[in-house]
């Protein structure tokens, strides 16, 4: 009878175990589509009554106490997580760089024939018309108009490049621009993530007090870590209670339940002022500087060099003016070079001592062109792609006649009536195919198409890198999905398994019950 009762007992326990196992299966199925969920598995173990058995077989049977749930384990693989997060940080960096370059490439989409290349082409075509009709007012005005189109194309492209350059990290000077920048927003995001991680740490410290793990909290923790890895690479140490210590280059950011270091940003000029660096001449870093402000009051200044990957790394590398990187700053420099060379060459021809313009009232040649440059800067400073424009004197009424079209190889041959002399226009036309010292020995158009080529190559290279990195991330993600995610077939198999065990236990319960009935009715 005692054995029957203990069998009943054991059964009750077995029912409870299978019920619980089904509840774990149910949790798995419920979360089969939850991002970051790690599949949990019930580990069953035998239960033993620890009594002295000796040579007594009944005591041996008495020691069998059925089944128990030893633990519910969560599928996890630290190696895979680390590899995945590292790859994700790389990808984030590349994607941010690609963003910047593709914004730049949009400005140089010359295939539709609307960019600076087309502007140069129509400039020289108008010059050719002027060559055919140097005494025609319309040809002169048309040439000036095409020159104006060229300068405004340069202005617009330069302005957009400047905008692009300042769009990510601010302009390096204005605190407001930095505060409004996407970079500052990302810094706020990552500080939030640090806080979330500290909160999860706190929950874990409260919950995971023994040997069993708080699986759902660990899922939350890992999802936050995945998110942080999109922003940057970091060092991680895990404690037995599931809490983690997140640090960057030895500086603690999150430890236990507290955020120990927060990211702050300041403009490059502000940082330089604090450090006694002359800005921008002696500063070759990014337009914004990231610092870590520690809760104990210490400040770790300029950790830009530490953040080389992730979205933040991407922001910092493309915002910088590193030589060799195809960045907005680099391209702006090249455009300036083009603008300066065009202005120098054409202004020199226009104001040459043997070049003459026309006085249309008398149809004679005049030297009024000597002090009238074609290209000037709109702000009085040195000419750049941003400020290059056509001299207002030429655009004024009758100003077109100031264009120097005539040129005498031999000054002795000067003839004031030679208004049809177009030799200076020929000189100007000849600059088109001439190697320009100011452009590294390339012609205007070759220099520009090489620039377009370099932007295209940079974008196509980074597209290729992203494709490769994306496939690494996808592969690791797939491996993680394979290990972590819920498979309905295996869950349903488990369900049937536990259900069958439950039914069997119930059958044993019924059997024991009827045996007890028999036993009880023996006396009656």
């Amino acid at each position: 009878m005692a054995n029957l009762l203990s069998a009943l007992n054991m059964n009750a326990n077995s029912l409870k175990v299978n019920e619980n196992a089904i509840s774990v299966v149910s949790n798995n199925v419920a979360n089969m589509n939850t991002i970051g969920y790690h599949k949990q598995t019930v580990n069953l173990a035998t239960r033993t009554n620890e009594i002295p058995i000796g040579n007594n077989v009944y005591r041996q049977i008495d020691s069998l106490a059925g089944v128990q749930i030893a633990s519910v384990t969560r599928s996890t693989n630290k190696y895979l997580d680390n590899a995945y997060r590292g790859a994700l940080a790389q990808l984030g960096c590349l994607q941010q760089q690609q963003n910047n370059i593709s914004d730049i490439a949009d400005l140089f989409d010359e295939l539709d024939g609307t960019g600076i290349d087309a502007g140069l082409k129509s400039f020289f075509e108008a010059l050719n018309d002027l060559n055919n009709n140097p005494t025609d007012s319309t040809a002169r005005v048309a040439f000036l108009e095409s020159a104006q189109t060229l300068t405004s194309l340069m202005n617009t492209t330069a302005e957009k490049l400047q905008e692009q350059m300042y769009s990510q990290l601010g302009d390096g000077v204005s605190a407001d621009a930095l505060a409004d920048s996407p970079f500052a927003a990302e810094i706020t995001n990552i500080n939030d993530l640090f806080q979330q991680l500290a909160d999860v740490n706190e929950s874990l410290a409260r919950t995971q007090t023994g040997n069993l793990t708080a699986n759902n909290l660990l899922d939350t923790r890992d999802t936050i870590l995945d998110k942080i890895s999109e922003y940057m690479d970091f060092d991680l140490e895990e404690y037995p209670n599931g809490t983690v210590r997140l640090s960057l280059n030895g500086v603690d950011l999150v430890k236990g339940t507290e955020v120990l270091g927060k990211f702050t940003v300041q403009t490059a000029s502000e940082y330089c002022a604090q450090q006694g660096i002359t800005y921008p001449d002696d500063w070759d870093g990014a337009l914004a500087v990231v610092n870590i402000e520690s809760t104990d009051g210490r400040v770790f200044g300029n950790i830009n060099d530490t953040i080389t990957t992730g979205k933040l790394g991407g922001y910092l590398t493309t915002g910088s003016d590193d030589a060799g990187t195809v960045s907005a700053d680099y391209i702006l420099g090249k455009l300036d070079q083009l603008a300066v060379t065009i202005a120098d060459i054409f202004n020199a021809l226009q104001t040459d001592a043997n070049a003459y313009c026309i006085d249309p009232t008398t149809w004679t040649l005049s030297d009024a062109n000597r002090n009238v440059n074609i290209f000037v800067s709109s702000d009085g400073g040195a000419i750049s792609a941003t400020n290059i424009k056509i001299n207002d004197d030429l655009l004024a009424d009758g100003g077109q006649w100031l264009l120097a079209t005539a040129y005498f190889d031999d000054p002795a041959q000067f003839d004031a009536n030679a208004v049809g002399n177009n030799s200076n226009v020929v000189n100007m036309l000849n600059t088109r195919e001439a190697a320009q010292a100011g452009l590294g020995g390339l012609t205007f158009e070759d220099f520009y198409s090489a620039l377009v080529g370099s932007v295209g190559t940079a974008l196509s290279n980074i597209d290729g890198e992203i494709e490769a990195q994306q496939s690494i991330v996808d592969n690791l993600d797939l491996q993680r999905t394979a290990e972590y995610s819920v498979d309905l077939n295996s869950e349903l198999t488990d369900l049937i398994k536990y259900q069958t065990a439950y039914s069997a236990a119930a059958r044993i319960f019924t059997t024991c019950n009827s045996l007890l009935d028999v036993l009880v009715s023996l006396g009656g």
Partner: protein, 327 residues
């Protein structure tokens, strides 16, 4: 994609979805290529090809400009040539025969007077030709295109004292250039003095057809005024002496014509070679840019089938489902 581990439900869906979206992207990309008839939709698609497209496009546009220039220049040269042809005709068939008749000394005063008038009219015509404008510019004035190249000056008695040339002289920088190729220019004008000459009684300068005509007119005038025997003889001798100069003037004009005929022919050859280059560059550009419609259509169909297959596969997997369907 090789999968070494077990496949979870989520993973299967991920793989199927990835495959389907890859197939869809291929399909959409090919459709875009067909729609735009261009392999290059962005400068990053093929940076080297992009640079080549820009250069080739520039070459083609230049050819168009050069061909247009050649057209304008050939028009001007043809105009110039036609006028000089008719001038030569007039000299050979009218002016010189008149001078020959006058030199014969067999005509009476009235006839001589008529010849004089005809020759004076001829000089006017020659000067008119010298002062021809093309597109608003004097074509025989060298680079002084807005200055009338020839003017006649007469004294109080109506005698021609000089016919001056005001254009750029033949030994000056008279050339007007038209671009007919990369860095190639053709001179499209002739200085009027080398074609028509000039006359100045003060300095005794007398060149070309103008000099010849003025001197002929002056000699005829002497004859018409019924001078002394000696004066008649002198005038007749002068007229005989001038006959050769008519021929010299014609050959002078023909020399200029030959020069421009050769410029014209140069441009004709340039045009042929530009046309050939245009064909080449167009085919280069097409190779760089245009899609091979057969190839892309074939690819499009295979991409479409792949996309359809992946969709039907996904639906089949969902239909087959899991163990759930069989419990």
């Amino acid at each position: 994609m090789t999968i070494s581990q077990g496949i979870s439900s989520q993973m299967l869906y991920t793989i199927l979805q990835d495959g389907m979206s890859t197939n869809y992207n291929n399909y959409a990309n090919l459709l875009a290529q067909i729609a735009s008839n261009s392999k290059l939709t962005s400068i990053a698609d093929d940076p080297v090809a992009t640079v080549n497209v820009l250069k080739t496009q520039k070459g083609l546009d230049n050819i168009e400009v050069y061909l247009e220039n050649i057209g304008i220049a050939q028009d001007e040269i043809t105009e110039l040539d036609d006028m000089l042809d008719s001038l030569n005709d007039d000299i050979v068939s009218t002016y010189k025969p008149l001078a020959v008749q006058a030199a014969n000394g067999t005509y009476d005063t009235d006839s001589l007077q008529a010849m004089l008038q005809q020759l004076e009219g001829g000089l006017e015509t020659i000067i008119q030709i010298g002062n021809t404008k093309f597109n608003g510019d004097y074509i025989f004035a060298g680079t002084n295109v807005k200055t009338q190249p020839f003017t006649i000056n007469k004294d109080a008695d109506g005698n021609i004292t000089s016919v001056t040339y005001n254009g750029t002289p033949a030994d000056g920088e008279y050339e007007r250039y038209v671009q007919t190729g990369d860095g190639t220019y053709e001179v499209i004008n002739a200085p009027g003095d080398s074609v028509f000459g000039y006359y100045d009684s003060a300095t005794g300068e007398s060149e070309g057809i103008i000099g010849t005509m003025v001197e002929t007119i002056n000699a005829l005038k002497v004859l018409v005024e019924q001078p002394t025997e000696a004066e008649v003889t002198a005038a007749n001798e002068a007229l005989y002496g001038l006959l050769d100069r008519f021929d010299e003037s014609v050959s002078q004009i023909t020399t200029v014509q030959t020069k421009y005929a050769s410029a014209y022919n140069n441009m004709e050859m340039a045009k042929t070679s530009l046309d050939a280059t245009e064909v080449n560059l167009t085919s280069v550009l097409s190779n760089l840019k245009d899609i091979d419609i057969t190839e892309v259509s074939t690819d499009l169909y295979s991409a479409m089938y792949a996309y359809q297959a992946s969709m039907s596969l996904l639906s089949q997997v969902y239909q087959t489902g899991t163990l759930l369907n069989y419990l």
